[in-house]
């Protein structure tokens, strides 16, 4: 929360700020005020449901698979949630992940460079794409929906066009035999065992991002700026919040996560298909919304986005373990999105009424 003088709505409670928080409230009250409460209830419901509906759902192997599926969405859902709290949208995230992987792999292959050089170049390029999104937003004053829709289409075309031009095919050349591949794979796409469960390294990246984003949101000045910029940009500006810088920063953050996801794709599969990633941007947004982010900005949490991603992972894998027709998956996803959002809205109303 910025200074009490702003018109921005209250941020989630954190004991260190603003006067109304000094009033001691009971624990259930405190819990009710959290943005991710609805998502937690939903996640427990989904877990219990599949525990009964699917025989293998509770086995260690299945747990690893579910966590991996969740982490691939979750890594992106964290910065997308922050961006939505900041009051903006990004539709280019899905293909940006693919772009990032393509840049890395093609640069390394064509230049016969150490794989890490490609990874570095990819980081610069991906951050530049994110920066471009943010800059266009603050310069043109167009809605972020339009700007990132443009970026989304441009990237989709660039992915296909460049790959065809450079590799002469629709997927990149394999780089598995190049220098630095093994060490990069260890960082981005290795796995380890934890008490019989096989965990992918993406789960660690995911957790790290959630912790970092939560710390930024609740413990730093930048976090206050994000809430203020999303809650009411003009009011925030009036009290000296650097709204433009904050938004550009948020888009760059999204790009960073896209880079992590993209490198994971590359080092897990060693070659990248140029046409993939389209449509995933909605999954990230869905995870953030189920986790309690508002479409209007100014409210939400990073932990919520992680729980949203977990719900997604449990459902997408649970349907397979329950041996249902895959055709129903999207229906469930949509129904869950509606239910979770309704639940969130209801919980928030109750919380505000009892403040």
């Amino acid at each position: 929360m910025s200074a009490p003088a702003t018109a921005a709505p209250p941020a989630p409670p954190s004991p260190a700020k603003a006067d109304e928080r000094l009033v001691r409230r009971s624990l259930p009250r405190k819990l009710l005020g959290r943005p991710e409460l609805g998502a937690v209830v939903g996640a427990v419901a989904v877990f219990v449901f599949f525990a009964f509906a699917a025989d293998n759902f509770l086995e260690p192997a299945a747990l690893g698979t579910v966590l991996y599926a969740s982490s691939t969405i979750g890594i992106m859902a964290v910065p997308v949630a922050l961006l939505m709290i900041g009051g903006e949208f990004d539709l280019s995230t899905g293909v940006m992940v693919t772009s990032s992987a393509l840049v890395s792999s093609m640069f390394s292959y064509q230049m016969s460079a150490n794989v890490w050089v490609g990874v570095g170049v990819s980081l610069v390029v991906t951050l530049a794409i994110g920066f471009f999104n943010g800059l266009m937003l603050v310069r043109t004053k167009l809605p972020s929906f339009i700007i990132t829709l443009g970026t989304f289409l441009m990237l989709t075309g660039l992915n296909l066009g460049f790959t065809k031009l450079i590799s002469g095919g629709v997927s990149t050349d394999a780089i598995g035999d190049m220098e630095g591949f093994e060490s990069a794979r260890t960082v981005f796409a290795s796995h380890f065992r934890l008490g019989g469960v096989r965990l992918e390294s993406t789960v660690l990246w995911w957790l790290a991002l959630v912790v970092l984003a939560t710390w930024i949101l609740l413990r730093t000045r930048a976090g206050n700026w994000i809430f203020a910029a999303g809650g009411g940009a003009d009011a925030a500006r009036a009290v000296g919040v650097p709204v433009n810088r904050t938004k550009i920063g948020l888009y760059t953050g999204v790009a960073f996560a896209a880079w992590v996801s993209g490198q994971h794709l590359l080092f897990r599969f060693d070659a990248v298909q140029s046409g993939e990633g389209v449509g995933n941007e909605f999954l990230y947004i869905i995870a953030a919304v189920i986790g309690g982010c508002l479409m209007t900005g100014g409210y939400g949490s990073a932990i919520g986005s992680a729980i949203g991603a977990l719900i997604f992972g449990m459902t997408s894998r649970g349907i397979v373990y329950a041996q249902w027709e895959a055709d129903w998956f999207k229906f469930f996803l949509g129904a869950m999105l509606l239910l979770a959002t309704l639940l969130n809205a209801w919980v928030r109303k109750r919380a505000e009424a009892t403040k």
Binding site: D55, N56, E59, A61, A62, T65, Y68, A69, T72, L160, G169, V170, S171, A174, L265, R268, F269, D270, A271, Q273, S274, G275, E276, G277, R317, V320, Y321, Q323, E325, A326, D327, K330
Partner: protein
């Protein structure tokens, strides 16, 4: 309360009206009744006498794909005959497809059928299945990688060979200038088909990329291509639904080009009969599904392997106008 009652009454009236119109508006031709007459009558009882094994099939099919529906029908038929519990999952992104295979391994299935449209993405997970002692059969796409990944057999059509057959057929028909319509950017098999056709075709062949999920866009793209070059005498589409679209595009462009296509469906059949289409190249999807399950069963039951280390080919079959009549009833019951 009164309002609620009125609501119920209105709903009842609407329902009655809908039912009434449905009954009054019966069609005496086509529709469900025509389909029911041509079904197969096996009752799905198993005759295998082997324990109930579980086989899983994971494909790269997108949502609502006719072709893959037929593959699945064939697989289910064989599963019913062989006393197999059959699981099916699909995703059109390589990474997700690999994840689905992982889920099947988690469930300790007794056999696995996968497509390798995105071979790199599938490599690790197929290796895992083989290591876990699950016999793997690849279908439809991936003949090049099947053996290396440790699969026991590959069943499908070699896309390059199929393309070459098309090129030869076009030469027979005396064609000079063709366009090859690719409806999925990023599909390796599609590229192979067009390249194969180009290699044996004596005329020139150009690639036209269209967005397969958006039919109006496909039509206008083909239209524009035909309008801009009247000397094009052949359009080759790579999927049955796109043949009908190409016919429409040809009509509105006023072109004389012959439309030919890969794969079959009822519309393609009608098109062949009406001479709107020249020929279709069939790869027998039903056979791919059926054989995959059957061969897995044979492997488990008797350690039999078909193909002698080479892919088992289910195509290409060139289907012309005279063959169309024979296949009519099969296509109508959705098994060809």
């Amino acid at each position: 309360m009164a309002r609620a009652h009125r609501g119920v009454r209105i709903a009842g009236a609407v329902l009655a009206a809908v039912l009434g119109t449905t009954l009054a508006g019966c069609s005496s031709t086509g529709g469900k009744q025509a389909e029911e007459g041509s079904g197969d009558k096996s009752g799905g009882r198993s005759a295998a006498g082997t324990p109930e094994w579980t086989f899983a099939m994971v494909t790269h099919s997108g949502d609502g794909d006719t072709f893959w529906d037929i593959v699945k029908t064939g697989a289910e038929k064989a599963a019913a005959k062989d006393n197999i519990k059959f699981l099916y999952a699909r995703h059109d992104e390589g990474q997700q497809q690999a994840e689905l295979v992982q889920s099947m391994i988690d469930q300790k299935v007794d056999g696995l059928i996968v497509t390798l449209a995105k071979p790199q993405a599938m490599k690790d997970v197929v290796g895992k299945a083989v290591k876990a002692g699950i016999p793997v059969i690849t279908v439809n796409s991936g003949s090049a990688d099947s053996k290396e990944f440790g699969a026991i057999t590959h069943i499908g059509q070699d896309e390059t060979i199929a393309g070459e057959a098309v090129g030869e057929e076009l030469n027979k028909r005396g064609k000079k200038k063709a366009i090859c319509v690719l409806h999925e950017q990023g599909n390796v098999g599609h590229e192979e088909r067009c390249d194969g056709a180009r290699s044996t075709f004596d005329g020139t062949m150009e690639n036209l990329y269209v967005e397969g999920t958006n039919m109006p866009e496909v039509q206008s793209a083909i239209e524009a291509e035909l309008q801009s070059d009247q000397s094009v005498d052949t359009v080759l589409t790579l999927g049955a639904p796109f043949a009908a679209t190409a016919v429409k595009a040809k009509e509105s462009a006023g072109s004389k080009a012959e439309i030919n296509t890969f794969d079959l469906n009822p519309a393609v059949l009608k098109g062949l009969e009406k001479k709107e289409l020249g020929f279709a190249v069939d790869q027998q999807p039903y056979l791919q599904g059926y054989q995959a399950v059957d061969l897995l069963w044979l492997y488990r039951y008797n350690a039999d392997v078909l193909g002698g280390g080479r892919p088992v080919l289910t195509g290409p079959q060139i289907i012309g106008r005279e063959d169309a009549g024979k296949l009519k009833s099969y296509i109508e019951r959705k098994t060809r």
